[in-house]
């Protein structure tokens, strides 16, 4: 290979390789939105792969602690026996299992914006919401892992789903849809927050009431009327009721319908809001 005297004189620069890299004239046309979404989902999954076991640990530790403490500390008091309580509680824990990690979508999005790769994305010609949609979809892997682990622990502890394999799979599918909807709430938060810590901090304010003022842990009939009313309108309660019905084989169409309706409402509010905030941000 011949070099011009000008570049050959540069010490240390990998001139041949740099010349090759810089003379590339590939100017592809913009990727279609679907490809952009797929690539973004791939990115999310690669990141998860690098974190390895830690991801699983992060998302299953809390549900398993809840599962053990509630079942063996309070189970007897709540339901007469721990075995009895587990049949009621495990479906609730499954809801908790997918709802809590939806915050990651928000922190990941916020990291992109505050740490700078967002600036790079903005100058690329792809359909911009692809990074958000892709990361939401990539997170499905996380939810599946978390659900499978929590379910396995439950089965080992003596949980017996009357709905069989079909019921369990249907419940998981419903939970994935539910998790994707709820993650839009945190995606919106992720776009407006100044730092990733703000997202995780603020998210507790949302997460705590969402998870606890629900029927995940106990039947609401013993609660005072006002609390019962709150629990009734909490979409997490709808999800827990439907999942309970599905795994035990006695779900009504109305139970499932009300979850899907809640999903549709949450998505209809927070998906466009997130997109709007994201675009507004990029206008600088």
């Amino acid at each position: 290979m011949t070099l011009t005297s000008e570049t050959a004189a540069i010490p240390g620069a990998h001139t041949d390789a740099l010349r090759k890299a810089l003379t590339s004239q590939i100017r592809p046309s913009r990727p279609n939105p679907l490809t952009a979404v797929r690539v973004s989902a791939w990115r999310t999954m690669r990141k998860m792969k690098h974190y390895g076991v830690a991801v699983l640990f992060d998302v299953t530790l809390m549900p398993i602690i809840f599962l053990l403490t509630f079942t063996y500390l309070f189970g007897g008091a709540f339901a007469g026996s721990t075995k009895e309580y587990l049949q009621y509680f495990l479906p609730g824990v499954l809801v908790q299992t997918v709802v809590m990690p939806t915050v990651y979508t928000g922190t990941a999005l916020n990291m992109d914006i505050t740490k700078g790769i967002y600036d790079r994305f903005r100058t690329l010609p792809f359909w911009q919401p692809a990074t958000i949609v892709g990361s939401l979809l990539g997170d499905v892997v996380r939810y599946v892992l978390a659900l499978t682990t929590t379910m396995s622990v439950g089965l080992a502890l003596g949980f017996r789903p009357d709905g069989g394999v079909g019921g369990v799979l249907a419940a998981m599918l419903l939970l994935l849809v539910f998790a994707l909807s709820v993650s839009w709430i945190f995606a919106a938060l992720g776009v407006v927050a100044k730092a990733p810590e703000t997202v995780s901090g603020t998210s507790m304010l949302v997460m705590f009431p969402l998870v606890f003022t629900s029927n995940i842990f106990v039947e609401p009939d013993t609660m005072p009327g006002w609390m019962e009313a709150i629990v009734e309108i909490n979409p997490v309660s709808d999800a827990a009721t439907a999942v309970r019905g599905l795994v035990h084989g006695n779900a009504s169409g109305a139970d499932i319908g009300s979850v899907l309706l809640a999903c549709a409402i949450i998505t209809a509010i927070f998906a466009p809001l997130t997109m709007y905030l994201y675009r507004a941000k990029s206008r600088g």
């Binding site: 011009t4 000008e6 570049t7 540069i10 010490p11 240390g12 620069a13 990998h14 001139t15 390789a17 740099l18 010349r19 090759k20 890299a21 810089l22 003379t23 590339s24 004239q25 590939i26 100017r27 592809p28 046309s29 913009r30 990727p31 490809t35 952009a36 690539v39 973004s40 791939w42 990115r43 690669r46 990141k47 690098h50 974190y51 992109d112 740490k115 700078g116 790769i117 967002y118 600036d119 790079r120 994305f121 903005r122 100058t123 690329l124 010609p125 792809f126 692809a130 206008r283 600088g284």
Partner: protein
């Protein structure tokens, strides 16, 4: 490719405010293609804000800017397809490996899977990162991170590359590597606009320089022109003993018939003059009067002196960093 006669960058009265602060306050630039152009200024001078407007990341509040003939507001897409920006803070995903970072960007730019893999390999080789290709980039040193960031800007070869403080925070060796890359890139035809707060960096790399301060261009030209505009030359003397400075000062004032500056270094003196004959005589007199001289230099003023002369304060003085952080 547009003709070489189109300016790489042409701005007129460019303005950007953040609240009360006018970060960029009427910047006019005309930068030809095929050069390294340096924008020099202290922290908070408005360098980053200017560059972000030119790269279409910020919308100007006033004035106009054309990049490679395209208006940055009305033809942002056209500008984006031909320029690339390497920001002050690395725009890479630290959780991903070097290869994954480049593949991600290549795929988002529309490369096929195999094209993306090939392009990543090429770029990693060009920036001496092949060995680190499979490591998560959060384990990289500052220099490697910066090189990956520059490589990430070149996935589609840009006609114009913005480098925002490319060597800030790097050790001397990494700095040298980045300089080498810049020289090689411009030799291969890329136009580069770089901002820096290091005068020697601008001096080393840039064909022309704009000095900006408080959001305005306060001087523009080649380094030679800038230095010449301040004064032709200067003699710098450093003494062995600080106590002999008053005596040396008197002697030099007389011998050179020019005012002598006592520098903040108690051993150092400088005189602005371009009369080399007189300088030679003055130095001989110093030797005869047995004032011990540690070293001396006679030459054109450094860019540091240029900056001091232009702004009345040293370049490195820390002003507010509010705008550049934005």
């Amino acid at each position: 490719m547009s003709s070489q006669s189109t300016l790489a960058i042409e701005t007129s009265g460019l303005v950007k405010s953040f609240g009360e602060t006018r970060a960029v306050d009427g910047v006019d630039l005309a930068i030809p293609q095929g050069v390294v152009y340096g924008v020099l200024g202290p922290n908070g001078a408005g360098k980053t804000t200017t560059i972000r407007m030119l790269a279409t990341l910020l919308t100007p509040d006033g004035g106009t800017a054309k990049v490679l003939g395209h208006d940055v507001v009305r033809e942002a897409e056209a500008v984006r397809s031909r320029v690339s920006l390497t920001g002050q803070f690395a725009s890479i995903d630290e959780d991903l490996t070097a290869t994954e970072n480049l593949t991600l960007l290549a795929r988002l730019l529309g490369f096929s899977r195999s094209q993306a893999a090939e392009r990543s390999e090429e770029l990693l080789a060009a920036f001496d990162l092949t060995k680190a290709a499979g490591r998560q980039s959060k384990t990289f040193s500052g220099g490697m991170r910066r090189r990956l960031d520059i490589a990430a800007s070149l996935v589609v070869t840009p006609d114009l590359l913005f480098l925002d403080e490319p060597t800030t925070g790097l050790d001397p060796r990494s700095r040298g590597q980045v300089w080498d890359s810049v020289r090689a890139m411009v030799a291969l035809g890329t136009t580069i606009l770089l901002t820096t707060q290091y005068l020697d960096e601008a001096d080393q790399l840039a064909d022309r320089i704009a000095v900006i301060d408080h959001g305005r261009v306060i001087a523009e030209g080649t380094t030679g022109e800038l230095k010449a505009s301040v004064g032709t030359g200067a003699l710098h003397v450093r003494l062995v003993n600080a106590e002999s400075r008053p005596e040396a000062s008197q002697l030099l004032t007389r011998a050179l018939a020019a005012p002598v500056f006592q520098e903040s270094d108690p051993f150092a003196l400088s005189v602005r003059t371009d009369d080399s004959e007189r300088v030679a005589k003055a130095l001989t007199e110093l030797a005869h009067s047995e004032i011990a001289v540690a070293d001396f230099a006679f030459g054109r003023p450094s860019l540091d002196e240029v900056f001091l002369a232009l702004t009345g304060r040293p370049a490195q003085e820390d002003t507010d960093t509010q705008e550049d952080a934005a």
